[in-house]
Symmetry: C2
Subunit: 191 residues, 2 copies
DNA sequence: GCGGCTATCTTTACATTGTCAAGTTTACAC
DNA sequence: GTGTAAACTTGACAATGTAAAGATAGCCGC
């Protein structure tokens, strides 16, 4: 069914083509019609799979977020201690965006994080990287026999997240990007 | 010259109308034609003052950045010690964006920082907030009789900036925004 | 005062884009 | 086989960015 009337798997093809086009031309130059053309379907075909342009972009965003999480999880894989895992995760966090600054803008540029998390109240607890951090942080407390209040825990985690996320953000800025050895830096910064 | 053929001060009027429209409808819904209409001029009039849409947006960005800097400078005004000033500046940094999340996306969403800083190599040293931080940090070293290598200084400053900037970024995310008392938090996080 | 120069603004035009509506084709259940 | 729904095409429309050409007005040298 490769060249039949029905495409076969247009939905995924649109997402893939979208990622490719965004990597080449940036999100602001992405048009539904170009994505459709890249898949050799008519300009209105995407509307069978996505409500509007935003829904396609959200789908792409989810796809990228999954790849991001894959790298974070790969980074903590096999680390002996929670401390090591947290350091590794922080490095992977910064490295992921430093290696591809476009993804930072794409994921956080409009502050959507991910489409399926779109709501107007507390969702930090559902943000995948934060869940991973919490898991490692609790492991860290246990390993070191520490006992902290919920509030103290929150502060610690936000602190770690802030450093890492802030570094990632700064590391992506044009001009600053190449002026600092991030891979070296985060090792010393993450206490 | 209020209703003459020439507007009088169209350039500034376009910037002001642009800020207003962005605050109301977001950057993604800003169109040159709407801005022109808000100033009661023809849709092509802006081209006499700005090369293209991006140049108008950059001008608006500079305007907002100036207001941002004003608040940072006001925050350190009259602080006794550098440490106090840095804390105050950090709070002002986070507060500015927490109070108006749209500005964070607007200023950093496309990672441009400001138009006049647009170049492809090191410009951290020209980023106004960073200059202010450096000034305060050097004051801090002197006040406490500390002597650090240039590299150690860089790490310290990036660390401070990362925490503050990361907190600002996170504080702006929908859903997380209201779930944390940022004003209380940054006081305890900034060592 | 006057001619001209230039910046400012208008009008017109065009290509790109998001989206809708109506029709066409295909797969699939019954 | 027939109907039904999903997947796709075609055609249309309004909004938008931008270029080109013309109109207007302030200003400068004389």
């Amino acid at each position: 069914m490769a060249d039949s009337y029905h495409h076969g798997n247009l939905r995924q093809a649109l997402i893939d083509a979208g990622i490719k086009l965004i990597n080449e031309n940036g999100e602001e130059n992405l048009s539904l019609r170009k994505v459709a053309a890249a898949c050799k379907v008519s300009h209105a075909a995407p509307y069978a799979h996505f409500k509007d342009k935003e829904e396609l972009i959200d789908a792409i965003k989810n796809n990228v977020t999954e790849r991001f999480m894959d790298e974070l999880e790969a980074a903590i894989e096999g680390r002996a201690t929670a401390d090591e895992a947290i350091i590794a995760m922080g490095k992977a966090y910064v490295t992921f965006f430093h290696r591809n600054p476009d993804y930072y803008v794409f994921l956080f540029g409009k502050q959507n994080i991910t489409a399926h998390l779109k709501m107007n109240k507390e969702y930090k607890n559902d943000y995948p990287p934060f869940l991973l951090l919490r898991r490692m942080y609790l492991k860290h407390l246990k390993e070191n026999g520490l006992d902290k209040s919920y509030e103290e825990q929150e502060i610690d985690m936000v602190k770690i997240w802030s450093i890492v996320h802030g570094m990632a953000s700064i590391a992506c800025m044009k001009g600053i990007r190449s002026s600092i050895d991030w891979n070296d830096l985060d090792e010393r910064i993450l206490v």
